[in-house]
């Protein structure tokens, strides 16, 4: 055991763009990210920040008009250059994905049974009968009652929460080393969100799986990940141990994002802080820091190209800010747990 452990997922200087009539949209623009075996990483950013495109690039689910550069090593195999056959052999046993809306990600005219078993039959080389037995076990594991009968059901016969549990069972079917969950609770009722997140937590720890939890909701990621990466307009702006990022955000964007999260202990009359402005045009992003046009602390130095390269910090807490928040100044450490409860708790 002297060899250094190879990271499960190693994304290096990844660029993903989509050709449009008015020029390429740079969805992911030079992002690096590693996930170690068994590690839970949160990927946070608002809609359009590129977090879902990053996940789709790893899974090879980009539209035809998309292009990529950089490397995405999945257990040492570069999925961007691998043959289709090799790439498909990784999808399922190495990496699996839980989609945002199980109501749309389950085929409406295919029984649950086939949707769970087809991957196992293909990747694990087992018989249909054996795959069905395993499917029953998987559905039990994710808390679907009466699993044997569910196999014969169609998705529309099940509730949203059940569908998402089944989506998770499908993802777990080939025992992946890494699970990518793209906004797994956004489409669900608030009362069900917590159950699904707890389920993801449980299967991750019992199976020792790596997890990339993608969310626009910082609070959701806070208690459930080892590290968190914050994306803005296709760039990584801050990355580090979850506690460090939440207690002491260094990038002005992360700070603003945290401050705009509703919290229970804030005085009732105080208005919630919002980030003024909107994401920059992804076809013509600003030269330097992309958050500069919306940032109160920005000055000329922020507009120098390359101003938003990541700077190393203690314990691997990196940020891309020219004028970082002083350590310990911008956090929500005082009552973090209360402030960052998952949305379902604060609202229910």
């Amino acid at each position: 055991m002297t060899a250094p452990t190879r990271p499960l997922l190693q994304v290096e200087d990844l660029r993903t763009w989509i050709a449009t009539d008015s020029g390429p949209v740079r969805a992911v623009d030079g992002v690096s990210l590693t996930v170690a075996a068994g590690e839970a990483v949160g990927l946070v950013g608002e809609s359009g920040s590129g977090k879902s495109m990053l996940a789709r690039t790893v899974m090879g689910l980009l539209p035809d008009r998309a292009g990529t550069s950089g490397t995405v090593l999945l257990d040492g195999v570069d999925v961007l250059t691998a043959s289709t056959r090799v790439r498909q052999s990784l999808l399922g046993p190495k990496v699996a994905m839980v989609f945002q809306d199980a109501g749309r990600a389950l085929n409406p005219v295919v029984r649950i049974g086939r949707q769970i078993t087809e991957g196992m039959v293909r990747h694990l080389g087992i018989s249909r009968a054996e795959a069905r037995e395993r499917a029953v076990g998987l559905l039990t594991e994710v808390g679907v009652p009466d699993p044997r009968r569910r196999l014969a059901n169609y998705p529309f016969q099940l509730s949203g929460g059940m569908r998402q549990r089944i989506m998770i069972a499908i993802a777990l079917a080939c025992e992946p080393d890494l699970l990518i969950a793209d906004e797994p609770t956004t489409a669900l009722d608030v009362t069900v969100q917590r159950q699904i997140l707890d389920l993801l937590d449980r299967v991750r720890t019992t199976r020792g799986m790596g997890l990339v939890l993608i969310s626009h909701d910082l609070g959701l990621v806070a208690g459930r990940t080892d590290r968190v990466a914050v994306m803005y307009s296709g760039r990584m702006v801050e990355e580090g141990p979850t506690d460090a990022v939440f207690d002491s955000p260094r990038h002005r964007y992360t700070e603003a994002l945290l401050a705009s999260t509703p919290s229970l202990d804030a005085p009732r009359a105080r208005r919630m802080r919002v980030i003024e402005g909107a994401l920059p045009d992804p076809r013509r992003p600003p030269a330097g820091c992309r958050f500069a046009p919306r940032c109160a602390a920005a000055d000329a130095a922020c507009e120098v190209p390359g101003a938003d390269s990541l700077r190393d910090g203690v314990l691997g807490h990196r940020h891309a800010c020219v004028h970082p928040v002083p350590p310990g100044a911008g956090g929500v450490a005082a009552d973090r747990d209360a402030a960052l409860m998952p949305a379902d708790e604060t609202r229910s």
Binding site: R56, M59, G60, L61, D64, T84, Q88, S89, L90, L91, G92, P93, A96, M97, F99, D101, R104, A105, L106, N107, P108, V109, V110, R114, Q115, E118, G119, R122, H123, Y154, F156, Q157, M167, I170, A173, C174
Partner: protein, 317 residues
């Protein structure tokens, strides 16, 4: 599902009543006296009145219809004015030819169009897609009266692969029968292939953008499997509708091809009866086709329930 089917059957009966009423009314609505037309200018008034009474033309429309309907449900569609043949017998005698032609054409069209559409949709914008879609456009633009003679010229006269014309009953040997039926069926199928390919190609394209297709790909399933086992079925609802409509249409609409190949089918029966002013025969044959058409479309509607499990439940709710 049962409730759903019952609902469709009731609707179909209403459509049949309305459509057959129109067919019967045609006799009275048609300008001029039918009896005069049939008997000629030299006919005596007595003869005209006699014929009108025999045809029931002197009665009010609803009585004409109710007596026609009463006869029709017992299988009596009247007697040909020209040949004195029983109309139903004549239709039933001609039906197998047209039925086989339509069915064969439909099967050929689906067998060709579905793989063409799948190949095209698999790689949108590729050479395969463009060639397949181009051929479909050409097929769509070619009417049967152009396609059929061209097929006869090249495949029958030049290559000698098929007989030029004529028909063999299935009872006299399936091989001989198919040998005669294949070329006309291809002629009928070509425009259908084109329509089917275009429709399925479009529906596949929108299905392939669905999340559940991404999800199947994310499970590492190869693209051929994803197309066949995940995309085809949810994309085929419109195709099934169109195929049902086409089949109904072909039952009465293979006239030109039947004429080119001199096939003893329903189309040539109707065409011949029209030119001979044999209204009773036309009426009976058209009524028969109407019923067949409605029944087919009802079966297609019920067939949705098997294709899409959601339809079954919606009908029960």
């Amino acid at each position: 599902m049962l409730l759903f089917a019952a609902n469709r059957v009731v609707r179909a009966l209403l459509v049949i009543l309305f459509a057959t009423f129109l067919v019967v009314a045609l006799l009275s609505i048609a300008p001029g006296s039918l009896a005069v037309t049939l008997l000629g200018d030299a006919a005596t008034p007595d003869a005209i009145a006699d014929l009108e009474a025999r045809l029931g033309l002197d009665e009010p429309l609803w009585e004409q219809y109710s007596s026609w309907l009463g006869d029709a449900v017992t299988g009596d569609l009247g007697t040909s004015l020209r040949t004195r043949q029983d109309v139903l017998d004549a239709v039933v005698e001609r039906l197998p030819v047209t039925l086989e032609l339509a069915l064969l054409a439909l099967v050929i069209a689906l067998l060709v169009a579905v793989p063409m559409a799948l190949l095209a949709a698999n790689r949108p914008g590729s050479l395969v897609d463009r060639v397949s879609t181009f051929l479909a456009s050409v097929g769509l633009a070619l009417p049967a009266f152009v396609v059929a003679p061209v097929l006869v010229y090249f495949l029958s006269l030049k290559a000698g692969l098929f007989p030029v014309a004529g028909w063999e009953r299935i009872g006299d040997g399936l091989g001989d029968n198919l040998h005669h039926a294949l070329l006309p069926a291809i002629g009928v199928a070509i425009p259908e292939i084109a329509a089917f390919q275009r429709l399925l190609r479009t529906d596949l394209d929108s299905t392939l953008h669905e999340d559940f297709i991404s999800a199947a790909r994310a499970r590492g399933m190869p693209s051929g499997y994803v197309l066949w086992r995940h995309a085809l079925r949810p994309s085929s609802f419109s195709l099934v509708t169109l195929a049902g409509i086409s089949f109904g249409r072909l039952l009465g609409g293979t006239v030109i091809v039947e004429a080119v190949f001199s096939l003893p089918g329903l189309g040539s029966l109707i065409a011949g009866s029209i030119s001979a002013r044999d209204v009773i025969m036309v009426q009976g044959a058209v009524a028969f086709i109407v019923v067949a058409y409605v029944v087919l479309n009802t079966l297609v509607d019920i067939g949705y329930g098997f294709l899409d499990p959601r339809v079954r439940r919606e009908a029960v709710r």
